[in-house]
Symmetry: C2
């Protein structure tokens, strides 16, 4: 099960009653954070979510409302006792930005591994760490797309694989030694007494995993439809609620609720969660119909709103 907390739903600048847009993802105790604007570490504290087990930070882009909180957050993660490496992923230019900001975190007690503008990455969940996959095993796939904003910006989709069921009948039929079953079940191949055993010899069919997408800040471009296709949850910026703000959206390279909903519809996602509201919108829910008329299964983000994503069937 994947537990999500939308730490904030604001865009542009931090406001007294609305934290900046950021997503906290908890997968069996290991954590992934998307974006860290000013105040994100305060929101993590408010929601009692903890710092030490944040293994990956994804940064969409280097505008202040998405990254200003990073130096303080990295320091606080250091103060929490973390010594394991932390992977930080961002768009083109992220290395230069991190180098600049590093004047504020010269001595972290852990290694910060920065990955700039990757297309696709594969990860495994080890007991105490999410790590880049170094062999066939892959439990979580990250895909990215370059978005259309005023600064290099990445949209992210995260696909969490579901383990295939163990097929006892098949294992017995293939005469796989019992002592290899657990390794094969983790989808690793095993050499044993000169014979190579593959996981397919004990596992049933592939099963659908969980797909989560996060897209902000951008104009609506076709690449987003590919990225988010059939997501269980598509978290998307809706900077402007009113259709009348379309010219502002075009000028500032953002989207209206209606445009975000259109991407959700075309991408055939299961559910759309809107976030990154302009400080000029007091009550985003007033504009929900502009999204729902295009894509019914829309919800409006709020600070601290939680979602649990489960494997289906």
């Amino acid at each position: 099960m994947i537990d999500l907390t939308l730490l904030g739903c604001g865009g542009g600048m931090p406001m007294p009653n609305r934290h900046l847009s950021s997503l906290f993802i908890n997968i069996n105790g290991r954590k992934i954070l998307i974006d860290s604007g000013e105040g994100t570490q305060v929101a993590i504290r408010k929601n009692k979510l903890g710092f030490k087990s944040i293994d990956i930070i994804l940064i969409t882009h280097a505008h202040g409302d998405h990254i200003v909180g990073l130096p303080g957050l990295l320091s606080t993660i250091g103060n929490s006792g973390r010594t394991e490496p932390l992977i930080l992923i961002g768009p083109s230019g992220i290395n230069e930005v991190i180098n600049g900001l590093s004047v504020l975190f010269k001595y972290l007690p852990y290694e910060l591994k920065v990955i700039e503008n990757p297309k696709k990455l594969e990860f495994v969940f080890n007991k105490d760490l999410i790590e880049l996959s170094s062999n066939d095993r892959c439990e979580f796939v990250l895909n990215t797309k370059e978005l259309d904003h005023s600064s290099p910006c990445l949209g992210y989709s995260l696909y969490f694989k579901r383990r295939r069921k163990f097929n006892l009948e098949k294992a017995l039929q293939m005469k796989v030694p019992k002592e290899l079953w657990s390794k094969l079940q983790r989808e690793e191949s095993v050499e044993f007494n000169g014979v190579t055993y593959k996981s397919s010899m004990v596992l049933g069919d592939e099963r659908r995993g969980i797909k989560l997408s996060y897209v902000t800040d951008t104009r609506p471009i076709d690449e987003i439809i590919d990225l988010v296709r059939e997501s269980d949850l598509f978290i998307c910026e809706g900077t402007y609620g009113s259709d009348e703000d379309i010219n502002k959206a075009i000028k500032n390279k953002h989207m209206t609720f209606r445009e975000a909903a259109s991407l959700a519809y075309k991408g055939r996602v299961n559910e759309l969660l809107l976030t990154h509201f302009s400080p000029s919108i007091n009550e985003p829910k007033d504009f929900i119909d502009n999204a729902k008329s295009i894509f019914k299964n829309t919800i409006i983000g709020e600070d601290g709103i939680t979602k649990a994503l489960k494997f289906t069937n």
Copy 2:
């Protein structure tokens, strides 16, 4: 009159119910800010204080809890419509830090003038701007002292001069032409018909101004006593309330309430305001007696607490 707002009273890291230590100073509509940790711009908003007329930012040192909010704040000041230069003052190394952080504010609509580790600066209040004094005129003097912390750190004292009274009798006796009175009253010298007129020819005696001091983060050193001597208000870090935390204070280069109070006593200040409380202190007021037993006129900082400093007599 000088209006002060303590924007936050926390040290170390931003907490959900306590903003980081920062002081907002309003002198007839022109503003000076001391320190900008993560969330300071949110606290400015909460207190409805405005961004556009912040003319000077003093940074005590480049630890995250005093400077992480700076890039967002500078951007927000830019968004507020400011085009006048802004003076930023900090300790040794501040130029390098600002250069690093500038990856987040590449295009400000105003000039940022950074002054590194000054000993003393003199300023004038012009109608729409506080500026460095370029002639005899000086209305506000900034003095600094290097403190004893784990990073280069400056303590600040601000002395706001009081205008001398106009002395009509003297002006008439000295035969100063009437049309020169207002210029001379602003303490500028004037040449007129080949004669040099000095402001002392129309002004009464010097009058005591207002002295405000701000000292954090540091161990208590004798230089602080000189810096803060006879301040109307001495704002000082008291990271630890309990005397039992003296070893932590020594190790982390901070002070206990008692140590701060001792500086206030030795500096013969009028009033002591404690701030920069460790996140481990839930209720700083529980420890006030540790300060009051040394220096009676002590108050404990709170987020948003205000003070008005007036000229006396």
